[in-house]
Structures are given as structure tokens and as C-alpha cells.
């Protein structure tokens, strides 16, 4: 892999910066723990000043004073706009269509953005038992945009999922349009190699930019299907000095998620 420390930032840092820019103008965002949490906090300080951080633990409008270590960290409760029961959060906020954007990830993703967080192997005799859906299945259906952050590897970017926990695009745009869901399937995927969108006509993941130093061969070598590449594929802008300063000094000073 060609990304080196010489570039002055880590793979995590360019993933965070690229993802945060994808939140430009977003309002109500369902946040996950780990990288998505830093991404949302960075976006709130840069491209999405009005971003409301929503956590499935029942928090709307969180203002965490420290880096939350789980989606139920007490720092999310103190100073929040509202704390709701989980029924209210899922029914009135998510199912009713108030959530603009949400982050999902998984052990496996396919070319249509379907996600597996349930098992590797067969369901009845799994090789690896993963956590399961949590809120992911309904988030995938109801959040208006889904952003995925995952490291890229052939074992996770697969031709066929072992289990479809959360639905993505079907591959048939007419079918997708007739679903009547608030959500429209994943809209972007950010990996340690590049960024992807989804093609309107085919619903397929499409390489939009590669991070500096990454080649198409690198991308192909870590993907389980023949990658679809945009005609005008470009280079991901590297993190700016200000983005790096915010990540390193304010959001994750001990480098828990970013090293």
C-alpha cells in the first residue's frame, strides 16, 4: 500500500477529513462511536455548524465535553438538547424521517451497499458471531443518507454477503424508488484508499476519488469485485492544517481512534 507517514497524516485522519466534508450542510445526524463520532464533531466545527448529534441511546443534540467512548457515554447526556426513551428516538425521530444522515459500518459490504453485521459463515453454525443489527437495519431504511466508513479489504468488500443485516440498493432503481422509504441506501463510502459514491442507474458503488499516493491497482487488490470507476476519478484533497489541528488537539488528543 502506498500511503505512507511521509504525507504528514495517517490513514484514519484522511478518512475522518474526507467523511466530515461529506456532512456539509447536514442537520440531524445519527452518530456511531469511534471514527463517526470524530467525523461528526469535526464537521460541527468546520462544514456543518448546525449539526445536531443524535445517538441511538436516546440523545438528541449532544454536546460532548470529552471523546465519548461508547454511544451511551455519560458525557452525551450532560448538556444535551433532549434525552428521550429509546422508543421515542426510534419511532418519533428515526422512523418519522427526522434523521438526515447516519453512519453505518460492517464486517462486510457488497457493491450495492448492503451491510452484514451479523455473522461470518452460516447463521446456524457461524465462523464468527458478530454483534447483529443494533439499530442498523432501521437506520438503513429511514435515514435519508447513509455514509459508510470502512477500511478496505477483500474479506470485507465482498461479492456476496454471508448475511444481509441492513439493506442497501437493490440494483434496480425502479424497485428502489417504489420502496417508499425515507432512506435511499448508502450515498457514500469512505475507505483508507478512497471515496465512493453510488451510481444512480445501477445502484453500484463507484470510485470517485483516490487518496494521495493510492493507485487503482491498490484499490483493485483490496476489493472482492471488479471496481466501477467514475470517468473523472480524482484525488481526495488531503486533510487541511486546520482539520488536522482540530483532530489532534481537540477531538482525539490521545489518539485513541486516529493513530
Amino acid at each position: 500500500m502506498s500511503v505512507t507517514e511521509d504525507l504528514g497524516y495517517s490513514k484514519s485522519e484522511i478518512m475522518i477529513a474526507a467523511s466530515a466534508r461529506g456532512l456539509a450542510g447536514a442537520r440531524n445526524c445519527f452518530v456511531g462511536v469511534g471514527l463517526p463520532n470524530i467525523v461528526c464533531n469535526l464537521a460541527q466545527r468546520t462544514v456543518a455548524r448546525d449539526l445536531q448529534l443524535v445517538y441511538e441511546s436516546g440523545v438528541f443534540g449532544a454536546r460532548p465535553e470529552r471523546l465519548p467512548l461508547s454511544i451511551g457515554d455519560p458525557t452525551l447526556a450532560t448538556g444535551a438538547t433532549a434525552i428521550t426513551s429509546m422508543f421515542e428516538l426510534f419511532a418519533y425521530y428515526l422512523q418519522a424521517g427526522l434523521i438526515d444522515v447516519a453512519f453505518l459500518g460492517g464486517a462486510q459490504i457488497d457493491r450495492f451497499g448492503n451491510l452484514n453485521t451479523t455473522v461470518i459463515g452460516s447463521y446456524d453454525a457461524p465462523k464468527v458471531r458478530l454483534p447483529g443489527s443494533g439499530g442498523a437495519c432501521e437506520i438503513a431504511i429511514h435515514a435519508r443518507q447513509i455514509l459508510v466508513i470502512m477500511r478496505q479489504a477483500t474479506r470485507s468488500f465482498v461479492e456476496e454477503l454471508d448475511f444481509r443485516t441492513s439493506p442497501g440498493h437493490s440494483g434496480d432503481p425502479a424497485h428502489d424508488a417504489a420502496r417508499g422509504w425515507h432512506g435511499s441506501g448508502p450515498t457514500s463510502v469512505v475507505t483508507d484508499l478512497g471515496t465512493y459514491g453510488f451510481d444512480d442507474a445501477s445502484g453500484q458503488m463507484t470510485l470517485v476519488t483516490m487518496h494521495p499516493g493510492v493507485t487503482l491497482d491498490d484499490v483493485r487488490a483490496s476489493m472482492g469485485w471488479e471496481v466501477r470507476v467514475a470517468d473523472d476519478v480524482g484525488e481526495t484533497p488531503p486533510p487541511t492544517d486546520e482539520e488536522l489541528r482540530l483532530i489532534r488537539e481537540e477531538l482525539d488528543p490521545s489518539g485513541v481512534y486516529t493513530k
Binding site: 451511551g72 422512523q95 439493506p167
Partner: protein
């Protein structure tokens, strides 16, 4: 109202029976580990354990041999990784198989809502084009009788026993919670028997001064247990922080069955109560977990005499 105050030992002995469906709820916040430890200590057997997020507490209980089956929606060590004792049971049937029944978060919440509301099922817009219903036949597609729209329905969950932890409660079980609310209210109203554990038992007027904060009324509560630090290593908002190093440490402990067994012996079986557990950790540990102050201010309910 008469006092329902009991010790944890008596509450668990009287209200948790072999073969029961038990829900110890609390989403990251207010997870009553002390009740789980007492259930392990009393060697309850063949329990069906229900919880949205089984967390470290159910990993400990499964390792302690109390469980036959697990009902859940997210099976992990939050912010850390896997629950290894549960994974061994599922992946390797070691030391025996564990039956599972899984939902999504919204599905689990609505199972409790149906149970608490005396409804035969609850409709939600989820599970479309997911494989989850194919492995759980209790998640069923249904058409709306009004416009034919498709929804999925989930069945009510009515635990034999629900355990919830509250920051404070009075002697009759009126319990007040602040911070993350999870689905404790729904799980308590859905249950046949309810144990409320709290950081502090307070006088009834303290509850009556702020009735909006009462999440569970004593009318559905069978026993009230005062047990400070009962949620450790989870947290009680305003009382103590999550002990994150322990969650990380549990990953190491639970990877190896012998290490886990040694931990259970030292921290559960060889102790007679949660008070021993609190003492064993030592005062410095608890001091380090105490948060700074962030008072809510007060509202005026008005006096209408």
C-alpha cells in the same frame, strides 16, 4: 404504601426462579451488575436472558452457567469488541449450545412496548429486504388493514422478572431516573415481577417534589434494593462514571475460559454481597470514578391549594 425494601440476596431468592425469562435492562447506563452477580452467586439455572445489548453483564452470567437462551438486538462489548463467553457458546457450543433469538433495536424496544401495553404485537417499519426475519420466524410481515402498506410485527416480550436500576427510589418502589433512559420503563411495565435497585432510598416527599422524573411507579414494583455502585463497571449519571478500563480488561479476561472462571470465583462466588465487591475495589477506585457537578436547576411546579 408499605415498604418493599429488601436485600439483594432476598430479592433475587424470592423473585428470580429457575427457568424464568429475566431482563436486566439499561442501555449502557444503569446496568445492574450487582443483580447479575447475585443471580450467578445463587446459581439460578435455565434462564432466558433478555436485553437489547447483552453487554459484559450477560457475558458474565452466561459464563456463570445461568442461561439457556438469549434474546437481544446487539451482542457486543460496547466500544471494545466481542463478548467472548457468549461467542464460545454460539460458535463452538463450548461448554454447550446457547439458544438465541435476535431482533433489531427498534424491534426489541417495541417487544417491550407491546408487553407493557397488553398488545398482541407491535407494527414497525423495519426488516424490509433484510435477512433477519429469515432467521427469526417471530418477525412477521403484515399488511395494514387500512391501506395495504407492508409493515413487520414483533411479538410482546413479557419478562417474568425485570431488574432496573435507578438513581433514587422510595420504600414503595417509586423510582426516578435521569440521564439515558433506555427502555427500562417499558421493560418494567411489561414484566410480571420487578426489582428496583437504587443508589439511594429517599423519603417519599423527595419523589413527590419532582414527579416528572419518576420513570417507574411503585405500583408495578415488588422489591426495592438499596445498593450503591451496583452498576459498576457501567455508570449511574451524576454518581459514577463508566469504568472503561474494566470493559477493556473484560476482553482479556473473557478470552480465556480459565481466566474468566478465576475472575468469577474471586469477584462473585467468593464474595457474599455487592458491599464486599465495593470494599474489595477500595475507596480510591470509587473516588476516581466520581464526576464533577452539573446541576439541573429547578422548576416551579406551582402550589394549587
Amino acid at each position: 404504601m408499605s415498604s418493599k425494601v429488601a436485600t439483594m440476596r432476598d430479592a433475587v431468592a424470592d423473585l428470580v426462579r429457575d427457568g424464568d425469562t429475566v431482563a436486566i435492562e439499561g442501555f449502557t447506563h444503569l446496568i445492574c451488575f450487582a443483580a447479575g452477580h447475585e443471580i450467578i452467586r445463587q446459581r439460578k439455572r435455565d434462564l432466558t436472558l433478555a436485553r437489547m445489548t447483552p453487554d459484559v453483564i450477560y457475558d458474565q452470567m452466561v459464563a456463570g452457567g445461568v442461561a439457556r437462551k438469549l434474546i437481544f438486538s446487539w451482542l457486543g462489548n460496547p466500544g471494545v469488541g466481542s463478548l467472548h463467553a457468549i461467542r464460545r457458546r454460539i460458535e463452538d457450543h463450548d461448554p454447550g449450545p446457547l439458544e438465541i433469538e435476535e431482533y433489531s433495536h427498534f424491534g426489541m424496544v417495541c417487544r417491550y412496548v407491546a408487553g407493557a401495553s397488553n398488545l398482541p404485537f407491535f407494527p414497525i417499519r423495519s426488516y424490509f429486504e433484510s435477512d433477519i426475519p429469515s432467521v427469526n420466524p417471530r418477525i412477521v410481515p403484515m399488511r395494514s388493514p387500512y391501506d395495504g402498506e407492508e409493515v413487520y410485527v414483533v411479538p410482546p416480550l413479557r419478562p417474568d422478572v425485570t431488574v432496573v436500576h435507578a438513581q433514587r427510589a422510595d420504600e414503595s418502589g417509586d423510582a426516578q431516573i435521569w440521564g439515558l433512559l433506555g427502555c427500562q420503563k417499558e421493560a418494567a411495565f411489561a414484566a410480571d415481577r420487578v426489582i428496583v435497585v437504587c443508589e439511594e432510598i429517599v423519603e417519599e416527599p423527595v419523589i413527590r417534589r419532582d414527579p416528572n422524573r419518576t420513570v417507574i411507579p411503585g405500583v408495578v414494583v415488588d422489591a426495592v434494593v438499596e445498593e450503591p455502585f451496583a452498576c459498576h463497571p457501567s455508570f449511574a449519571q451524576g454518581y459514577y462514571d463508566r469504568d472503561n478500563p474494566f470493559y477493556l480488561e473484560w476482553d482479556r479476561i473473557a478470552r480465556d475460559p480459565e481466566t474468566l472462571e478465576t475472575w468469577l470465583k474471586e469477584w462473585v462466588y467468593d464474595l457474599s454481597s455487592h458491599a464486599d465487591y465495593v470494599e474489595k475495589w477500595g475507596a480510591a477506585h470509587w473516588d476516581a470514578l466520581r464526576p464533577g457537578e452539573a446541576l439541573s436547576g429547578e422548576v416551579d411546579y406551582g402550589r394549587y391549594a
